[in-house]
Subunit: 421 residues, 2 copies
């Protein structure tokens, strides 16, 4: 997604955000944006071999860090700009952050979203008082339309990352973190357009020059990685981390990353899924894909962080409940706590009851059963029975399969057989 | 579950926990138990019509408040007691809390659990360094065995609630809450045996006499409600809130509840499920059933709390991932975001492809399909097709059903048809 021309800094006048700007941003947001908890995370420390601290930005009112930048940007507007109103293009966290703080400041807000945006997100943004305009099949089309509306109605553009106020706002996170745990050695920060990492790299390195800042992108959208490495890896595809699926590095953020960030780690989809699940099961916290990216980076190269004091930015918690449910069930399958197998059975009355009772004796909880008579590899009087059960663990699953084998049902394990996909 | 005789206070010498005890407990736990965040919860305020604050005890290392009481109890033991070791009976949060703090203090811990305890909980407790003894089909049987072991090996009993140190430890929560938000008007506290509410009622009412303390039990286990009301409602059944499924009010806790708690609200299973889901989707926090009971009480009688400043104790987050996934999917069904219907179709090649394409055009994401030829109420050349789709919302679901009706497929809505139960 490209920023609209009007939001770009004039050629040759780079806007440099400083620690003083971020300290000022902190005064601006005080009382309006939550000071989120930063907590030690012993279960994640055990998982990764580092000393892990988590900053819970998912506890913000609209469940992401985006409120910080939006709050600072809106607070900086003059009376005339506030009267005219603001506009933003976003199908995600930025939309709700702008809507929420615009309402608080009584500034009219227009949010442009692609027509494919899930209705719950449209509703959530409207509930925060914004006018939502649905247009365009893609973000690019929605962006073009948003720029046209902005020009036509003379609205102030609120860019999601390429804006000095927004960058300064996001950087307040690192100040809070270092105030509470000054001996943090590394911060791992997700990168979409780069606003979050730019602000926090400036703040953290100014406050503590020895701290290392590491960025994370998903392998499907390595835009900042490309810009830094002069590479041209493709950007595209469906990712669980749609919050950082940005195809172009920010004009203001790129030089900051180049100067202050020591490394960008790319994380693939299975790692992002594992990280979402680890936050869920180990920390009892809901992270969206982008929100779990920092942890995914640790899982990708744990040796890089071994025994170091690491701060993770759990930067957002807005994940679709069905996708979250699916991730949880898939993890149970991987742990053999949900197991599917196919049995070969004689096709006579009572046999299903016998097998169901046998599974009960074995302590297996039946989740689903499918009965087939039409397979060619069984005798005409035989049938196949597909069963999905819940077990205590892998050893229990093996025990059940051994017992059914002993009973003559020829059990065969099936992959991905759980009822929910 | 009955406390063992050895842990009961001697007849006629009531042990009265005071604010001073709880303040001492606070000094004991400092640095060893997390001071959890207390945060305003605007989405829950919007849902309930009150001004809601949440105390996130689910962020403790073992994900429940039980650490506070366990920490205080273990710290109070003498050198000889520490050498002999401690024993507790629990299949849940108390087990992990005792194991965690015993290891920290280098005290040998034995935890007795019923043989039916899920293996993950056994493993989690062993991973914390405790010796787990599995015995008894029920909590009562396990309790008897635990008492025998305690007597035999001369171990110190760590009661989950009927112990002054434990009660004082749990009461530290209210001190933290009132320090941060002194104008809280009501605390809603789940009741199992009553340790949590007794400690917090003593602390809160001593620190702020005008505060109201309200208890919550699940309708299936109204033991404290019975004791207070001289009633005899049955206790039993499978509840989502197994953490507060206790059949007998504590001997030490009952008089405190009688004196300081203004009301006990009983919540049924659908409300507990709704509350777990609300924490999940609105607050991005994982609550186990008992952990969500405070919110369930608000949903039960919202008018009781309208416009008041209410503190909720999110007291635990240990919920089985499969149950959590199931709750999330059921909620999507209730919101018509997952919809199942049965179509009547001509049984000829290509028809499934046609319907699948049609559903795609309508924006419905297909989650599952079942094809039946054997129903008697269709012509011999006809068939039934059961389809489960994901929709944007109820209106979208209606639109899809209207379109399929227009196509002649006679769609009939089905309940509980989602793939995951």
């Amino acid at each position: 997604m490209q920023p609209p021309p009007s939001s770009r800094p004039p050629q040759g006048t780079p806007v440099k955000v400083t620690l003083a700007d971020i300290e000022a941003a902190r005064r601006t947001i005080a009382g309006h944006v939550l000071r989120t908890p930063l907590l030690a995370a012993p279960p994640l420390s055990a998982l990764t071999g580092a000393d892990v601290y988590v900053k819970y930005e998912n506890l913000q009112v609209t469940n992401s860090f985006k409120e910080r930048g939006a709050c600072v940007k809106l607070a900086a507007l003059g009376r005339d700009e506030r009267r005219r109103g603001v506009i933003a293009m976003s199908a995600g966290n930025h939309a709700q952050a702008v809507a929420y703080h615009a309402r608080r400041l009584a500034i009219p807000a227009t949010i442009v979203m692609p027509v494919t945006t899930p209705f719950v997100k449209v509703k959530a943004t409207e509930a925060l008082g914004a006018t939502v305009v649905l247009c365009g099949e893609t973000l690019t089309q929605a962006q073009a339309r948003a720029e046209a509306i902005a020009a036509e109605r003379d609205l102030v553009w609120v860019h999601p990352y390429d804006d000095p106020h927004v960058i300064a706002g996001q950087g307040t996170i690192a100040l809070e973190m270092l105030e509470e745990v000054p001996d943090l050695e590394v911060l791992i920060v997700p990168i979409g357009g780069g606003g979050l990492i730019a602000g926090n790299a400036i703040a953290a390195r100014a406050a503590k020059p020895s701290i290392e800042i590491i960025g994370v992108e998903c392998t499907l959208y390595p835009s900042m990685w490309n810009a830094i490495h002069g590479a041209n890896r493709p950007c595209g595809g469906a990712t669980l981390a749609e919050g950082i699926a940005v195809s172009t590095a920010g004009a203001l953020t790129l030089p900051v990353v180049r100067e202050l960030v020591s490394d960008i780690i790319l994380v693939d989809e299975p790692l992002i899924e594992r990280a979402v699940n680890a936050f869920l099961t180990l920390q009892k916290a809901i992270a969206e894909g982008a929100g779990a990216a920092s942890l995914a980076a640790m899982l990708a190269v744990p040796e890089r962080f071994a025994d170091r004091k690491v701060g993770l930015l759990l930067c957002g918690g807005n994940i679709d409940p069905r996708i979250l449910a699916s991730i949880m069930v898939r993890e149970l399958e991987r742990e053999d706590r949900i197991v599917s197998f196919r049995l070969t059975i004689p096709d006579r009355p009572g046999i299903l009851g016998q097998i169901a009772s046998r599974l009960g004796e074995l302590g297996a909880n039946i989740l689903g059963v499918d009965h087939h008579r039409l397979f060619l590899d069984v005798p005409a009087k035989g049938a196949k029975l597909d069963v999905t059960v819940e077990t205590r663990d892998g050893a229990h699953a093996e025990e059940i399969l051994r017992a059914l084998k002993g009973d003559g049902y020829q059990p065969v394990r099936m992959e991905g057989g759980a009822a929910l996909e």
